[in-house]
Point group: C2
Chain length 402, copies 2
Amino acid sequence: MISQKMKTLVSNNSTIRAMFEEGKKLSKIYGEENVFDYSIGNPNVEPPENIKSIINEILNEEVPNLVHGYMNNSGYEDVRAEISSFVNKKHSLNLSKDNIIMTCGAAGGLNITLKTLLNPDDEVITFAPFFGEYKNYVENFDGKLIIVPADTSTFEPNLDVLREKITSKTKAIIINTPNNPTGVIYSEQAIKDLSSLLNEKQKELNTSIYLISDEPYREIVYDDATVPCILKYYSNSFIGYSYSKSLSLPGERIGYVVINKDMEDFNDVISSLNVANRILGFVNAPSLFQRVVAKCLDAEVDVNIYKKNRDLLYNHLVELGFTCHKPQGAFYLFPKAPIEDDKKFCEDAKKFNLLLVPGSAFGCPGYVRISYCISYEKIENSLPAFDKLAKLYSLRHCKINN
Amino acid sequence: MISQKMKTLVSNNSTIRAMFEEGKKLSKIYGEENVFDYSIGNPNVEPPENIKSIINEILNEEVPNLVHGYMNNSGYEDVRAEISSFVNKKHSLNLSKDNIIMTCGAAGGLNITLKTLLNPDDEVITFAPFFGEYKNYVENFDGKLIIVPADTSTFEPNLDVLREKITSKTKAIIINTPNNPTGVIYSEQAIKDLSSLLNEKQKELNTSIYLISDEPYREIVYDDATVPCILKYYSNSFIGYSYSKSLSLPGERIGYVVINKDMEDFNDVISSLNVANRILGFVNAPSLFQRVVAKCLDAEVDVNIYKKNRDLLYNHLVELGFTCHKPQGAFYLFPKAPIEDDKKFCEDAKKFNLLLVPGSAFGCPGYVRISYCISYEKIENSLPAFDKLAKLYSLRHCKINN
C-alpha cells in the first residue's frame, strides 16, 4: 500500500541493507576485529575536543528558550552573519548573512535547493562517479538525473560530453568536490571551463542553468591542496556545505547553503529556500548546533589521521598492482577492479572479510570504493586480506609471493 | 526562475511575512512592551531545568563519535526502545522499537509519512480548522488536500461530511488533537466513530485509508483532560509526535512517528519511512537530542503556566461578550469574530496593537486564533486593548463602559 515511487526505492534499499546485514553476520562468525568494513562514510576521527565546552558555554550563557527555540526558517541571523564573514575571509568574497541559509546538513541543503529550482521533467546533470543519493534528491521533485560518464583518466568532469547533454530542459548541474567516491578535487581550470560552458549555454538556449556544488568534504584535503570556490567563477551558483565531516558531527544534521550574491532572481530564490526549508518539514536547522558551529568556525578535525590512513592503504594497494588515482581529499580510495565486473570483485573481497562498495553504485562500473575513515590499526590488520585478494587475481608485485 | 509550485508558495508566504514585519514595525513605533503579539505558536515556557544536566551527562559519559555520529535512519535503537516502553506504559500498548521512527519534529514525521503513502493525485482529507501546513505537506508529494468544513458548534470532526468526501482516491485522513487552532481535544466517541467510518469505507471501497494523528500538543492539556490514543481504535494509523511543545524544544527538531503494529504491509511501511527519512535529506533525527529526550521521557514543561494564561484570557474575552469554546489543550483560543470578515477584524485589532491570526488561515473564516504562549504579565497588559476592541464592536458587558 506504499506509493509506487517508494516501492522501487524500498526494493533498491534492501540491497544496501542486505550488505550491511551481511557485514554484521560476518562479524558474528569471525569476530568484529577480523572483519574490515570499508563500506561506510561515517567519520571515525573525533569531533574537536572543545565541542563539549562550547556546548556548555552556550547552555550557561544563553536563555534556554532562545537556544532551543524557533527562529527564522533561514536560521539565526547572528550565526549566518558569522558564517558569511568566515567564508568571506577564506575566499576573499563579499557575502552577507542573506547569502547563507542554515540547513539540516548538505542533504537538507540540496533538497531545498532542488525543490526551489525544479519543475516536473526538468533535467539535472551530474558527472560519474557520483553520490547515488543525487538521483533520489532530483526525483523527489519529479526531475530527471542525467549522468555524464566518468573520464576515468583524471576523474575530472567530462565537459565534451556535458556539452552534448545540455538542452533547454537542463535546470542544474551538480558537482561534488572533493569527490565521493574518487577523492579528486576538481581543478581550477576544470571549474573555469565548466563555468564558461554553462555561461555559453545559458546564452545560446536563453535559459538559466544553476551550478550546485556539494562540498561536505571541503575541509578534508591533503598535501596543501586547495578547493576552488565556484562562487568566483559562476553567478548562478550554490554551495551545499555540511559540518558532518569537517567537525565529525554527521548525526547532528548541521550545514548551510551559500547563494551567490550575483544570482538571477536572488530574492525569489532566498524566499523559496526559506519556504522549502519550512514545508519539507525541516522548519529550521537544529538550533543548538547552529550556535555551536558559529563558535567553532576555525575548528577542524585532525585531517592528518585520514592522511596517514590514505597513505598506508594507497601505497599498499599500488604496490600490490592495483591501479588507483591518488586522492587529494575526502576519505575514499577508488581503485580499478582487476576485472570488469565490480560486483563480482566485491563478492570475492568479502571472502577475505573485506567489505567494499562496487563502483556501479556511483555510476562507474569496473571500480570499487574503499572508505578509509576507520582506525589506522584496523587498516594495518586488513593489509594481509588485500594481499590475498590481489593473489586471487594474480596481480604483479603481489607481496604474498615474496 | 524558481519553480512554478514555489512561485505560488513564495507569494503566499509574503503575506505572512508582511504580518511579521508589521509587528516589528509596530514594536519600533510603540515600544515592544506595548505590542501584544498573539500570532506565533512559539512556546514561552522554559524547557525542563534538568535538560542542561542531561546534556552534560550524555557528553561526559558517551563516546563523541557515537553521540554525534550517524546511526540507522530510524534513529538509535536504544532510544526507540525506551520511547516504545514509555508509550506502552502510558497507553497500555504492546509496541517495540520497530514501531518508533525518530524524526525531525512532527513536521518531518508527517512529510516522511505522506511520502510513504501518496501517489500523484491521491487525496488526503482533514477537518477545518486545520494547521495550514498540511496543504503544503500533501502537495509536496503531488497529493490533494480535501477539507471538511468546521463544525463550529463543537469543533469536533464532522463525520457526516467526511462520509461524503471519502472516495477511492482517499489515501489518508489527518487529524490534529489537541487541535491547533481551537484547543479542542477530540473525544473518545469521535475517535471511535471516525474509526468505524474508516473501517466501513475501507471495506466498501476495497482500499486502504490511513489515519494520521498529528499530536505535538498531546502533553499540553488542562483540567485532567485525556487525549484518546488512536492506535487502540484503528489499525492503519500513525501518530506524529514532537517534543517541540512538551519540552519547549521547537528549534531542536526532535520528534517521532509511531506506526500501529497492526498496520497492513507493516514492513514495507517501516522500510519506506526509513528511506524517506534518508532521501528527503533528514537522514536521521538530530543525534544528541535523540539521546536527550530518551533521558527525560517523564519530564514535562509546567503546563500550569499555560493554564493560568488560558483562564485569564478566556474569562476576560467571555466577559467582554466574545463567543469562545473553552480549550482543553494546546495554547490557543479560537473566538468568533464579531463580524463575518475575520481579516477586517484582525486589521481592527492591530489598531490596538493586538496581533491575531484570521481563522481563514486555518480554513475557518469568521474566527481568529489567539496564541497565548506569551507571558502572563503581557496578557494582563493587553486586556485594556481587548476592552477597546470590544468597545469598537459594541460587545455586551464591555468593561470599558462600566
